[in-house]
Structures are given as C-alpha cells and as structure tokens.
C-alpha cells in the first residue's frame, strides 16, 4: 500500500507542476476542485468506511465465498454483474466496498464483473442518460453494455485466474 501511496503522490505532484507551469493559477484551481470534491463526498466516504469496518468485523468469508467466491464461475460473475448495477454513488464510495468484498474472499472474475458493471451499466447513471440521449439510444447501449461485465468477468477467470 505504501508503494501505491507514493506513486499517487508523485503523479499528483507531476500534475501540479504541469498546472503551475501554465502560469494561470491552474494549480490552485485544481487543488481547490479536488478539495471541494473531498468536502462534498466526505460524509458518504465515512459511511462507506463504516460499512467496510462492519463487513470486516462480521467476517462474512464463508457467505462471500459461497456467492461470489473464486469457484463460483458464471454464477459468481452474474451475481457480481447484478450487484454492480445496483451499487450507488461515486468511485470513492463504491471502490472501498468492492475492495472489502474482494478481501473477504470474492473471486477475481466476480470482482471484475462488479467493478465493470458499476462503471458501465449502473442503473442510477442511466437516469441521467435518458433525458439527454433518449430511450432508443439507452436501449442499444445497454443491450451491448450488459454483455461487457459478464465477458470481462469470464475473461478474468480464464486469463488471470
């Protein structure tokens, strides 16, 4: 985890440097945007981590493994896909929850399916899509999009294990 932290800090510093070299206050503005997002999402973030804490404390390993464990194959991938569609909120909320499920014994395939389905076909996002692109567009995109998490989950099992 320390390596990841350092990598991210280096990337942030690099971007800060690029923004600073524009000489138009971009570096300050960027930091402000980041801070605003953090402030806005902090309550959600705290609740997400409280959930993480309880999942941790309740040790649901056998439950998780039965439903979406490494040996669950297509069933796990389908459950992961369905769960991903229902997950609410932004990445800072969803990723800690998926991470704790993975740590509690979810298989790689179901986990990948869950991330991908949240990213591509989350139902909450579709409510934003309809007014701007219409039902006809959404139907076509979702029709194809539904296959993506399932394929990604199965490919994950096949190639990465």
């Amino acid at each position: 985890m320390i390596e990841s932290t350092i990598t991210l800090i280096l990337i942030a510093l690099f971007l800060l440097l690029i923004a600073w070299r524009r000489h138009d206050g971009s570096h300050v503005k960027g930091a402000q945007v980041g801070l605003q997002t953090l402030r806005r999402t902090l309550p959600l973030l705290v609740i997400a981590f409280i959930i993480v804490g309880y999942v941790n404390a309740l040790e649901p390993q056998s439950l998780v493994q039965n439903w979406i464990g490494p040996g669950t194959g297509l069933q796990g991938v389908l459950i992961g896909t369905a769960a991903g569609m229902l997950l609410p909120g932004g990445p800072y909320v969803v990723f800690p929850l998926i991470a704790i499920l993975f740590q509690s014994g979810a298989g790689l395939g179901p986990t990948l399916a869950m991330i991908t389905s949240w990213a591509a076909i989350a139902l909450l996002t579709v409510s934003f899509e309809l007014p701007f692109l219409g039902w006809r567009f959404t139907r076509i995109r979702l029709g194809f999009g539904l296959l993506v998490p399932i394929l990604v989950g199965l490919l994950g099992i096949l190639f990465v294990g």
Binding site: A31, G34, I51, G53, A57, A99, I115, R136
Partner: protein, 178 residues
C-alpha cells in the same frame, strides 16, 4: 421556499450501515458493534494519505483538460476516426454523469453519429482517466491494471458494432430528443 433534496445514495448507504451495525449487535453485542466502527475508522485513517493524493490528482486532471476542447474535437469527426476520437474524448473528459451526458446530448444535436456517441459514453465508463486515481488508491494496482487491460477493447468495439448495426437509427434518436 427551498426544496429539500434527498440524497438517495446517502439514504441507501446509511441504511446498509445501520443494518450491518444491527447484525453486529445481534451477533456479538455492544463489543462487536463498536469493533465494526473502530475498524472502519482505522481503515479510513490508513487510506487517508492516498485518498488526499487521489482527490488532488482528480481535481488537477479536471482543470487541465477542458470540456470545450473535447467537445470541439468530437463534433466534426465520423467513421473510424470519429469512433477513436470518441474513445479518447470519453477517457479524458472529467466529471460525473451530470457532466458527460449533457455533453453527449449536445454532441448528438450537433450531428455526431451513433458509433461516436456509444464510444464516447463507453470510454468514459471504462477508460476514465479521472477515476483512475481512486481505483488505484482503493482497489490497488493489480485489480486496476487487470480491469483496464480487460476492458481496453470494448469502447472502440461497441462503437463499431452499434454504428454498423444501428447507425441508421441516429436521426430518429436525434428527433426524439428535440
């Protein structure tokens, strides 16, 4: 009078947290209920430096890549070039669904094809640069790398497939929104 807006994400997550606290209480009494809280805050504190860096990175990406630039690029392009530009534009565009769907809507009205729009939305969903720092921080480098690697092909592929199979429906899609 100000209308009270209900944040359903907050409601849903709070309900889950309360339910889990209830289960913990039922299974292990006050001790386990407090233990869950303690572990939650401990995890949050341990990822805080990484989260700060992630929020900073996301904020800077937001400022460095302007929406106008992406929009200008995508309006005029079509065919394979359009689909690829749609993918790159989608990957680069910052912000949540309340930002990129209005942009996709205005691209639709200014004449973008179905393939370009599907590529744009799918790339935003699967290749998003501004989400990368959060994914990296919270899910770890391994999962992030595998996930990006396995989804790499889908934005151009879905753009191409939808354009080939349903490209001729774009006028009807456009008219329905107007």
């Amino acid at each position: 009078m100000k209308k009270l807006k209900i944040d359903w994400t907050m409601v849903a997550l709070s309900a889950v947290a309360l339910a889990l606290a209830g289960v913990a209480w039922w299974k292990g009494g006050q001790d386990l209920a407090l233990e869950g809280l303690r572990q939650g805050f401990q995890t949050l504190v341990s990822v805080t430096p990484m989260l700060l860096a992630a929020f900073l990175t996301a904020g800077l990406t937001n400022v460095l890549i302007s929406k106008e630039l992406v929009e200008r690029w995508l309006t005029t392009s079509a065919g394979w070039r359009g689909i690829l530009l749609g993918c790159i534009g989608g990957a680069l565009i910052p912000g949540g669904p309340y930002v990129y769907y209005p942009i996709a809507g205005s691209l639709l009205q200014s004449g973008a094809g179905l393939g370009v729009l599907v590529a744009f939305v799918t790339a935003k969903n699967l290749w998003s640069i501004s989400r990368l720092p959060y994914e990296f921080a919270l899910l770890g480098p391994h999962l992030t790398l595998v996930r990006y690697g396995l989804t790499l092909i889908f934005p151009p592929l879905l753009g191409y497939l939808t354009e080939t199979l349903f490209g001729n429906t774009i006028e009807r899609i456009r008219e329905a929104i107007q």
